[in-house]
């Protein structure tokens, strides 16, 4: 076959890619390969670049390593990242706006879908924020159960993080093992809340249902098994040559950097800043349990790994204490005041007042005083998750402003990633642990 036999209908190659006529051997095939290479990652050459080592790389938004729909536009010099811009908003649903036309309770299912790796903690964050605004205090038993399930949610989030993080570094097996335990947590949530994933179990002023003996038994079984499993994973990874090489000294942040860039959560504590909302502004009954806040000072990707793994150990410790304590805490699981929370189903089905109150709660709900404004944050798995609420005296919030940890962490990632190698991009995104549902609101 010669060049002249190629029909006119053949696609005309881009001027930037070699023309078919250049090739003497399989011209169409070769031209197509070069064209595909050009289109695979869109890049733009910079003019004064004689060695042609600079290019712009577009990573995402649809890329499996970006943990959702994060788009990174990276300018490279050879293999070094010169500068990076993150483009977020591909999962923006405007939940803050939607909250303004819902009652406080109606908004709860939306919180499930914000940081979708730990729905329970989001529910509790929302309930606590509304309770602060309206001056309601949940009964002690509800607080213990909430705390225990929040810690399970933290393990749930960290399990997904460690699985995907190790997968980003090239090992698939840990992902499969951690998902086995996430599955266990789904089963626990199924028993406790009646839904496996988007639980919506918390209520303003307490909980929807009390925890069953079966639920307690499942949590106990999970904790017993998980502890040993975590030790095994640590044995696999802590001194693993490949894992350590991929993470040691990558993306180093000093204590000043993390404060300056507004990092939060484990990213903050891996750089030697001891800031944890559970300690800073104790909520629920965290001041009654015994736990440590893990902290490292190296500030690199490996330190962030160690902090998160140690957090899972500490969460396990808190859950054990809750399991011991909860059977001794009696009492209701919701405030016994039908003006500030849902009446119990017994009251609703067997008394007129109960039914009226149930309708009123559904229709209007809790009405905090006019002009009230408050902020309540919890320490979620990713960091400080807070809601800034303003009331206009009606049953729905006047303004909700959500302070989402992933948003704050991604802002820092934009700077953290600069100066690193292109091959470490994926590991760095993983080590910061963003969830786009959380960052995009």
């Amino acid at each position: 076959m010669t060049v002249s036999t190629i029909p006119d209908t053949a696609p005309i190659a881009n001027t930037a890619t070699p023309d078919e006529s250049v090739f003497t051997f399989w011209p169409r095939h070769n031209a197509a390969i070069y064209k595909a290479l050009e289109d695979k990652h869109i890049h733009v050459e910079v003019d004064d670049d004689p060695l042609e080592s600079r290019m712009i790389l577009n990573l995402g938004p649809q890329h499996p390593a970006t943990h959702g729909v994060l788009r990174c536009v990276i300018r490279l010099d050879g293999e070094t990242i010169e500068s990076c811009l993150l483009d977020i908003g591909y999962l923006h649903r405007g939940v803050e706006k939607l909250a303004e036309v819902k009652t406080f309770q109606e908004f709860m299912p939306y919180t499930d879908r914000m940081d979708y790796l730990q729905p329970y903690a989001n529910n509790v964050a929302w309930c606590l924020a509304v309770e602060k605004l309206a001056g309601i205090e949940a009964p002690e038993r509800a607080q213990w159960i909430r705390m225990m399930l929040c810690e399970i949610a933290r393990i749930q989030a960290h399990l997904l993080w460690i699985g995907t993080m190790v997968m980003d570094a090239g090992a698939l097996s840990v992902f499969l093992w951690t998902f086995k335990y996430r599955e266990e947590i789904y089963n626990i949530m199924d028993e406790v809340a009646g839904a496996r994933f988007t639980v919506s179990h918390s209520r303003i002023g307490g909980l929807a249902t009390d925890i069953s003996d079966e639920g307690m038994a499942r949590i106990q079984a999970f904790v017993d098994e998980f502890e040993g499993q975590l030790e095994d994973w640590k044995k696999l990874l802590n001194r693993n040559r490949i894992w350590v090489d991929r993470n040691l000294g990558i993306g180093v942040l000093t204590a000043d950097d993390v404060i300056e860039l507004g990092f939060t959560g484990p990213n903050l504590r891996a750089s030697g800043v001891n800031h944890d909302i559970r300690n800073f502004e104790p909520y629920l009954v965290y001041d009654l349990v015994d736990f440590d806040i893990p902290m490292r000072t190296e500030g690199d990707s490996l330190a962030r790994y160690f902090v998160r793994v140690e957090e899972m150990v500490q969460s396990n410790r808190i859950i054990r204490q809750c399991l011991e304590h909860i059977p001794h805490v009696g009492g209701p699981i919701r405030v016994d005041d039908a003006k500030s929370t849902y009446a119990s189903k017994d009251e609703v089905y067997y008394s007129m007042e109960g039914m009226i109150h149930d309708f009123m709660m559904t229709d209007t709900g809790v009405a905090p005083p006019k002009g009230a404004e408050s902020y309540h944050a919890i320490e979620a798995a990713k960091g400080e998750l807070g809601f800034h609420l303003i009331s206009d005296g009606t049953g729905s919030p006047w303004r909700v402003k959500m302070n989402s940890p992933s948003f704050c962490n991604l802002q820092g990632l934009e700077y953290l990633i600069e100066g690193e190698m292109i091959a470490d991009t994926v590991v760095l995104i993983g080590s910061i642990d963003p969830v786009m549902g959380d960052a995009d609101k």
Binding site: I88, G89, H92, G94, E96, K97, L98, E100, V101, L128, E131, K132, L133, A134, G135, I136, E137, I259, E260, L261, G262, T264, V273, N274, H275, F280, E281, Y283, A367, P368, P369, K370, G371, A372, E373, S374, Y375, H376, A377, E384, G386, H388, I390, D392, G393, T394, R399, K401, N403, F407, C408, L410, Q411, G412, D440, K441
Partner: protein, 222 residues
């Protein structure tokens, strides 16, 4: 029955036969006197508020407290100085949160607040700026707190408040082609039809319509 005691009617429903009466609650009975069960020590700091008042005088326009949270209102022009003073002299080095509020129909319509954390003394302070609707411009604090960067971009995107001196004030979530600021109260919850065309279905085709006209049977001409 006096004029004041009449229940308020929703103005939009005055002509309807079945009227909906509502009473905005000023306060839950006896609640404001009690201590809020979720009040934290970290947000209650009268000394800092007093010190700020002495240092900045008239530029501090007011202080409020709800649920043991102190909020200091600052003149718009002084916000950068106050932030710098808090950061460099008083140890509030960490900007944990920043946001905007639309006080629709009120004088000085918008509010921008900054929540600063002092890691040493374990304290949190909120400072607030009020902005007029006619000139929604606030001096940027990116020069003081680098982490304000994205928060200010979000405020511009969602509420349409411009930050003077911001290095890169692009929209945060919405694309640059979008013309509205969705967190404002006048923006409809359902969105504005036609405000955000979608990419073409074929490589050299026209922009496709967004789901609103499409749902009503209007399809692109191609």
């Amino acid at each position: 029955m006096s004029q004041e005691a009449q229940p308020m009617t929703d103005p939009g429903q005055e002509k309807q036969t079945l009227k909906f009466y509502f009473t905005p609650r000023q306060a839950l009975a006896g609640e404001l006197d009690q201590k809020n069960p979720h009040a934290k020590d970290s947000t209650f700091q009268p000394e800092v508020v007093e010190a700020l008042g002495e240092r900045f005088g008239d530029t501090i326009t007011g202080v409020t407290e709800y649920a043991s949270e102190h909020t200091v209102f600052v003149e718009k022009s002084a916000i950068v100085d106050v932030c710098r003073h808090l950061k460099e002299e008083m140890g509030y080095t960490y900007l944990s949160e920043m946001g905007t509020i639309d006080r629709f129909t009120e004088e000085d319509r918008f509010e921008v607040y900054y929540s600063l954390v002092n890691m040493q003394t374990q304290k949190r302070l909120r400072i607030k700026v009020r902005v007029d609707e006619e000139d929604p411009v606030v001096p940027s604090v990116v020069g003081v707190f680098r982490s304000a960067n994205w928060h200010e971009r979000e405020a511009w995107d969602m509420m349409g408040i411009r930050f003077e001196g911001h290095p890169d004030l692009r929209r945060m979530f919405m694309p640059e082609d979008f013309e509205y600021h969705p967190a404002r109260k006048e923006f409809p919850t359902l969105g504005i039809p036609g405000s955000l065309p979608l990419p073409p279905l074929v490589s050299d085709g026209k922009l496709t319509l967004d789901p609103f006209p499409r749902a009503h049977g209007e399809l692109p001409e191609d």
